[in-house]
Each structure stands twice: as structure tokens, then as C-alpha cells.
Assembly symmetry: D2
Homo-oligomer: 299 residues x 4
């Protein structure tokens, strides 16, 4: 089991790093705010003062940061690990970033003899803790093979999408977009139901146990039905960020996305209404409000 | 087991009637084109010359017809069964009709001492044949109780939505609408994927086996991925009809449905392009065509 | 100057009838609620007890009623004028109705030797009073020629769209739709302006005096800017009716109208918010509300 | 008449500079590709080798460049004029750029004792040549007063929107957006008309001579009617750029723009279909194509 660097210990990164420690990996960890690293150090991880300090030349480093800007900073920034990783190294990026950045970093690493493997994940923090993430990967085959044992520790499955470093991120942002479509679709029909005196939860449960008996409808249906979004699992303003990754990728590919545009307008409206720190499912409130319902009322 | 009238022997009605015969029910059947009834007669059903002839006063009659107009005709039309059904009779309507008509017929029957039970179904013809339909019901409780044994024969589950005759139809058209949203959502993301050299089927299969591991994504994903819609399971022009039932119900409830409007535009465009007799999943072609792809090409 | 029947004395019909009287026409008038006819009787018009009583066999009758249903009732209903109008008669319909109904009535009249001329109008009540209406006409040429003197009295111009009785109504509902697009477009940009501390009225006035120096922007700009819609010139629920005429005509022609769908959703939302009796420009409030602005506040 | 620097001699900048020369201004000119400057030099302008060379300390410099990036480069880039302009200088930016950049540059100049005046223009090249531009201005009052004589030479009117440097650009991108709404609205109705056998040009001309008798409908109506967009007056890919300036400004202000999203999808589709170098009115083709019409056919 080779030593691994781990950069980014947020709601997702922390339980993932913990699972690697549990599996016996020697981890060197870095987080922008050092405080978050403390507990993991207690569990055996070695803290690093900079991103560069977290990697071994020719080693493997996992990044699980918030967005494109953060990824660029830890990789190619002044204290970034990129140059130090060098010949034979692997940058295993599990964050949700743009396909464009993934491709640019893949080329950047290649010039230095290192490799970029994209392996973004589906699942919320509890799934990360339970090692039940669904992982999608893409990148150079030999590099993907080397990190396979690591991915096995972190997720319940890894689905591969070929050699293009950007491909896995395309799939990832498409998946998040499909989830937002479920939220909007449910919001619309539950509102029609509500105005026909059908209990929102009853309709959501029916769909989630028959035609749509799958995790997304089962997790999101009750939230959209309840109409309470103040306890954020995934912040609405980050949902907007992901929506924009989707629309940018679509525009780059010259694909109009009318559903994407509707969802975009929902996110923007939610921001305008001061809900950026709520759970992203709060985009469902628009359907209620536009129908003239008191959005806090439940049937 | 009481004798039952059965009106409407289309792609769905025929296998349903056959299952009732198989369960031992004495069936009197009626279809607008008598030919379709012949095989069932061979299997033991008794043919009726008119809708009225298919019912017993005070008995149970099932209707499984194409649309609102057909339902009105067989019920309250010149040869309709409505008046004959009379005191104590039950009209068990399993067709997809508007909530409005369901409510009007419920009132109409009540004036005559009969009852209207709404029990529309989810599932395509093979599910009907396998008695695997998901049934949603609403209407007067005592009446629903009396037809319970019949529904048990026809479906794998019955979910009830209360006493309002229109409620079950609201749920039914909402369900069909959610399916159309899946088609459109997948069409958009698979097209972005395709332009990023990701095989359409691979992306569809990934979603259908993880986040969206449920019947609708598993059935529709491969169809949308393949981009071939010439063999119709459910006609596109009927999909437009269902979409309009949804938008009408939404307008009656004063609920704007932006996703509903997008899907509506897709259906209208497909009609304009001469695809009314194709499978309704052909609305997925718009996403490809608007992106400048040859819609017949597959990656 | 031949005698003329006039049916429908609403906000538009009354000043139009008055202008004909002023020009010397002998008018027989009918209105569903007789009270409205009284003042015109004082001005010389002859009241009729039924639509049929308002026409002379072989004469000219003008209809200016609210919608398709009203037009059918006064024409082909039990007390309708249709049969009495007979050989050589002209039905000059100036109401906003569906192209479909126009075509059906044209055929209906033709079977009886009478003719249907469509001549819907653009302009609000003050324009009707000032004889400044813009008229669009279509129908059989000889019939249009005969009513030309009448149209000259009522409007400032008549633009002809050929022999198809439905054509003029297509143009009419398209025109109303374009106005609703101006309302929505202005609502969106004035809201962006407002959030950038640009006075709504200042931006509206700039456009209405330069790029868009024309009646619609000059009339509607200040209304959308002011954000007060409680004094109705044209009822919002009638605007929804016209929007549906547009979408129905588009669907019949298999033309998707994404702008039409957006505007439709605005109307439905306004109904849901209890604004059906406000001026139709109140659809502009949605843009403010979705942006999180107090829709009653003005910059 | 003070000497003036002029940077950016494209389709708009060239005739504007020529008008200033004609009015007696001493011009120092700069263009990225020097060739374009030659004819103006023949007319009396003095060429500059770099943006910095085009300005006098404390003088006035006009920028008329393509986009945000170009404006930043000529102003604050290595050869930019910004530092040299210095105390008392005025940067009169007449280009269409983002309100954000305008505000950032205003602050940047203020730190150096110079001023930024925003004065974007409405009008195509012939209007620029005829000095018939509509100018919108914003910025510090004293600075605006000093450039007033210059603006008088270039346009037929200047409408002021206050001290915020970003305000004029907000108005400018809102105006361009309203034009794109006219194109889309006309495209939808002319297509419905065409399918009802109404000549596209006839309907467009009717509107442009009555309800919408103003420059935009008169200029764009015939183009949308004709359906030929191969001779570009304003490139479609630049129209997409302006649409994105609008959507970005709207998102920054947290204003959803459903019309904006529809138009965006039209632009993206047109790019996907290879029309980026056509005139931007080619977004009208989508309405025809989605209706199943051969988009090259005209009625």
C-alpha cells in the first residue's frame, strides 16, 4: 500500500480520508484551514503545511476541493504540489470541477511526466463515510489501474469513461443536473397535487416506491414534499455553481439545454430571495410561490 | 366472484380482460371495433353489441378507453351504459382521462345511485399481461372496497388517494409527465455527452444502475440513447394528449409548469416534423437536432 | 348608406357603434345585457330583443363579442341571426376569436348564401372612440369591398390578408402576443436595471423614444415601469384567453413557441396570485417577485 | 477643440473617428491591426504604435473595442494607455462591455486621478457614419460635461443614466437584449403565419407600420421575414457574447430572465448548426426548423 497525499478535508473529503486511514494507507493531509485536519492527525494522518508538502515525488495525491479555482491553486499555485509531484506521479482528482480544467490539468501534468486521473463521486457525506460512493473515472489507463485499490476503499463501484480526462466530469455534472431536474419536476407535480388536495408526501412516496423506486427519488422526494429547506445538506449556491458547470459545458459543446435554463432561472431566483445558504432543494419553492401558495404552508 | 362488464379492448385493455377471465370472472365485453373482441370470446368472454349491453343493473363495469371523448360516449352517449348501470352499480374507470371528467362523471353517477371509481394504471402492455400494473385509485370508499378483488387480479399494487374521484387521475397524469421529464433530461445530457465523445448508452446505463436504478430510467434510458423511435410502444401524438391533460390540470389549478411548457414545445415540434406516429420518446430528437447533430447518427 | 346590425356593445363595441351612428348609419343594436344599449338608443340606434332581430335578410351585421362561445351563440344559437341573415348577407366579425371558428363560420355562412368577413382590430377603447383603430381584414373579396365604407368610419387603416377567413384572426392574435412579449421583455430588463439603481421609468422612456419609438412601447413602457396594475384597461384573465388562442393556433400549425410558453406561465402564475381582474400588464410583476423584490416597491 | 486619442477602428469605430476628424478634432489613432488605420491617416489622423502612444497625459481617449478582454488589454495591459493618461485624463469608453468591468476600470482610473466615462452606442455602421447614433452615458458629471462636445459630433442624442460608471452599459446590454426578443417574437409569429399561408413579409410590414412603427421592427422585420442571414451585419457569435453579458448581469443582480434563457438557447443552437459567422438574426431559423419547415424555403 503506497503512501498517499490527501488535499481537501471538507464534508466529503474528511470521511473519505478517514476510510483510507482505516484501510491502512499512510496519509499526508492538507487543508486550507488547518483546524479541520486535527482529528485526522489524531487518527494517524501526517499534517502538511502546504499542498506541496503533502506529496511525494512520483507518488499519488488525491484532491477533493471545492471548485476550479481551489483546484488550480493547490495544483499549479505558488505552494501547489504540481511541480513536486513530477515524473511518475498521479494526481487523482475526485472533486467536481469543469471538464475543461480537467483537460488542461491533464495536459499540464503530462508535460511533467505525471498523470491526471479524474474520479468524481456521487453521494452525500453519509455515503462517503459508509464507503458507498458511486465513482466515475477517466484518464490514462495505466494511471487508473494504479489507483484502483484506493477507489475500491472509497466507493461501492467505479464506472469508467475512457481516456479523456474530462469525460468523468462531464458525467458527474450531468448526474447532478439530472438530480436538479428531479427536484423541479417533483416541485411542479406536487404543487398541482396540493392544489387538488392531494398530500404532497403521499404522491412523492407513491412515485418513489413504484416507477421511480431509486435513491434519488427516495432521498429527494420527501424533502421536496416537506417544503422545508433550512437545514442544508448541499448548499443552494453550490447547486448554482454546478448548474453553471453544466451550462458552460453545454455551451462549449453547442448544445441548448432548455431544462438546464429553467433550472438556472430557479437557482437565480432562489439567490434573489436570500436562499443561497439553504439546501439546494429549495429551488422547489418557486413552483409553490408562482402558484400563489404560501411557500411555508404544507397541506 | 361477480360478473363484470369490460369496455375497451386496446393494447392495455385486452390483456387486462384476459387476466380477469383467467381469474375466473364472467366477463361481458365491448369494443368499438368488434373484431378485437373475437379472441377473448374464444377464451370465454361474452360479447356485447353496445356499451349498454355490457353491463348488469347494479353491477360492475370497467372502462379502458382512449380518451375523454370516448369515455363520455360509452358512458352517457346514446348507447352508453350509464343509465342502465343504475342503483348500486359501479363504474370502474381505469383509463387515463382528465380529473375534470372524472369528477363530472362521479357526480353524474351519484345522481343515479351508481358510483364512479377512478383506477388508472402505470405500465406498458407487457406489464398489463403480467398483471404487474401499478394502480392508483380514488373514489367513494365502499365502492373501492367492492372492486378491490378485481384490482388485485390486474396489478401488483393499488395506491389509494382518497375520496375525490379526480385525485387518481391527477396522480396518473403527473406520473406520465415525470416520465416525459426523464426523456427530456436524458436527451439533454446524453447529447452533451455525445459531443464529448461519451457513448450515449454508456452514460444512460451508468445512471440507470446507480442514482436512478429504477424502472423508468432502465426502460427509457436505452431508448433515448439509441435514438431510434420508429417502433412505437406509446404513440407520440398520445404523449402530446397526456401532456395537454397535465397542462390543463395545471392551468385549472393555477400552477405554472415551466418543465411542462418545455416538454409541450418538444411534442409540438415533433408533430411538426412528422413524428406523431413514432414512439413518444422521439421528443428526445430535438435535443440532438438543435445541437446540430444528424439526429439519425449514433456515436 | 345601408342599414347595419351591431351586436356586442362592450368597452370596444359601444364607441364603435357610436361612430357609425355619427357617420349617419341606421343601426339596429343588440347586447346581452340590454342596459348597455340604452345610451345608444338615445343617440338614435334601434334596439333589438334578440341577435336575430338585429339583422335584415341580405344585410350587414357587425359582431364585437367577447369570445368564441359568445360568437357562436349570437350567430348559430337558438336566437342567433345566422339563418335570418341568409342569401346576400354579410357577417362582419370584428371580435378577437380563433382562426378555427372564423373558418368554420365562413363555411357555415357560405352554405346559406351569406358571407363572413373577418376584421379584428388593434387599439384600446380610446382609439375606438377616436376612430383610430388598426383593422386587419380577410375573407371573400366582394364582401370585403361592400363593408369597406364601414371600416373607413371605424379605423385609421385596414390591412388586408387575403381570402382565408381565418387569416385576419391569425394576425390579430399574433399582434396581441407580440405586445405580451414587450411586457415580459421590459419587465425583465427594468428589473435588472432597478437592481443596478437605474430608475425603471428612465430606462423605459429611453427605449420608447429611440430604438422603440412606437405606440406599444410608449403605452406599455410607463405601465410596466410603474408596477401598478390595479386599474384594468384590459383584464389579465382576458390576456390569458388571448394567449391561449395564440398557443392553440400555434399547436394546430405545429409551431413550438418558447416565448409563448414563458408568457403562458406568467399568466397562469398571475391567476394563481389572484390578479385575474388586474390589467394584463401585471404579468410583469413575476419578474420582480422572482428577483426577490417587493413587487409593490418602486425605485 | 482638444486633441483626442481613438482606439479601436472596427466597423463602428472607423466612421466615428472619421466624423471627429471632419468636425476638426486632432486625432491620434490606434488599432490592433495597423492596416485599418491607414485610410484615416490619409484623412489627417496621426497613427500611434501602441495604445499608450495614442494618449496625452491629462487628455481624452476614446475606446471602441470588441469586448472586455480587449478593453482591459488596451487600458491596463503592458502597452496600455492607463498609466500614461494620468491626472485629469478621461477614458471615454464607447464599447459594449460588462457593467462590472466598467465599474472596475472607473475605480482603477480614480486611483490615478483620471476618470472613466461610459458612453456605449445604439446603431449599426451606417448610423455611425451618419452621426445618428443613440448614445447612453454614465459616470462622474464633470467628466461627462467635458466630453459632451465629442458626443454631440457622434450621435443624434445622449441619454444620461447618472454617476455609476456601470449604468450606461446596463442600459446598452438591455437594449440589445430587447432587440433579440423582437427577433425571436417575430420568428415565432411569422412561422405561425407562414403555416397559415400568410406571407411572412406582409405580416412583418403590417406590424412595423402600425403598433410597432419604430426602427427596430422596421429594420429587423424584413430580415426575419426573408429568412436569409448569410450577409452578416452583426455576427451571430457576437450576439451570443452580448446575450451572455446580459445573463451575467442578470445573474449578478439575482434576476431570472426566462426570455433571456430562451434567446440563449437559440444562440447556442445556431452555433451548433454552424451559423456563428451569419447575421445574428439567424437565431430566427430555429422557430422555422422546429416547426418542421425547410428553413431555406420562403413562402
Amino acid at each position: 500500500m503506497e503512501p498517499v497525499g490527501f488535499i481537501g478535508l471538507g464534508l466529503m473529503g474528511e470521511p473519505m480520508a478517514r476510510n483510507l486511514l482505516g484501510a491502512g494507507y499512510a496519509l499526508t493531509i492538507y487543508n486550507r484551514t488547518a483546524e479541520k485536519a486535527r482529528q485526522l492527525v489524531g487518527a494517524g494522518a501526517k499534517p502538511a503545511a502546504t499542498p506541496a508538502d503533502a506529496v511525494q515525488p512520483g507518488g499519488v495525491v488525491i484532491t477533493m476541493v471545492a471548485d476550479d479555482r481551489a483546484l488550480e491553486e493547490v495544483t499549479t499555485g505558488p505552494q501547489g504540489f504540481g511541480e513536486r509531484l513530477g515524473q511518475g506521479g498521479i494526481h487523482l482528482c475526485m472533486a467536481t470541477v469543469s471538464p475543461d480544467l480537467a483537460r488542461r490539468l491533464a495536459a499540464w501534468h503530462e508535460e511533467r511526466g505525471s498523470r491526471y486521473v479524474a474520479a468524481p463521486v456521487f453521494g452525500r457525506p453519509p455515503a462517503a463515510a459508509a464507503a458507498k460512493l458511486w465513482i466515475v473515472s477517466s484518464g490514462v489507463s495505466a494511471a487508473k489501474q494504479r489507483v484502483q485499490p484506493i477507489l475500491k476503499v472509497l466507493g461501492q463501484s467505479t464506472s469508467d469513461f475512457g481516456e479523456d480526462a474530462g469525460a468523468a466530469n462531464v458525467v458527474k455534472i450531468c448526474g447532478n443536473f439530472l438530480i436538479s431536474c428531479v427536484i423541479e419536476g417533483l416541485a411542479e407535480v406536487l404543487t398541482v397535487g396540493q392544489k387538488n388536495d392531494i398530500e404532497r408526501r403521499a404522491m412523492a412516496d407513491f412515485f418513489a416506491s413504484t416507477l421511480f423506486a431509486c435513491p434519488i427519488y427516495q432521498n429527494y422526494g420527501p424533502m421536496v414534499a416537506a417544503g422545508r429547506f433550512d437545514q442544508a445538506g448541499f448548499l443552494l449556491r453550490l447547486g448554482l455553481k454546478d448548474n453553471k458547470l453544466m451550462l458552460d459545458a453545454a455551451e462549449n459543446a453547442a448544445v441548448p439545454m432548455p431544462f438546464g435554463s429553467v433550472v438556472h432561472d430557479r437557482f437565480v431566483s432562489a439567490i434573489g430571495r436570500g436562499r443561497g445558504e439553504w439546501d439546494w432543494t429549495a429551488i422547489a419553492l418557486n413552483a409553490s410561490e408562482e402558484a400563489g401558495l404560501d411557500s411555508t404552508a404544507k397541506p
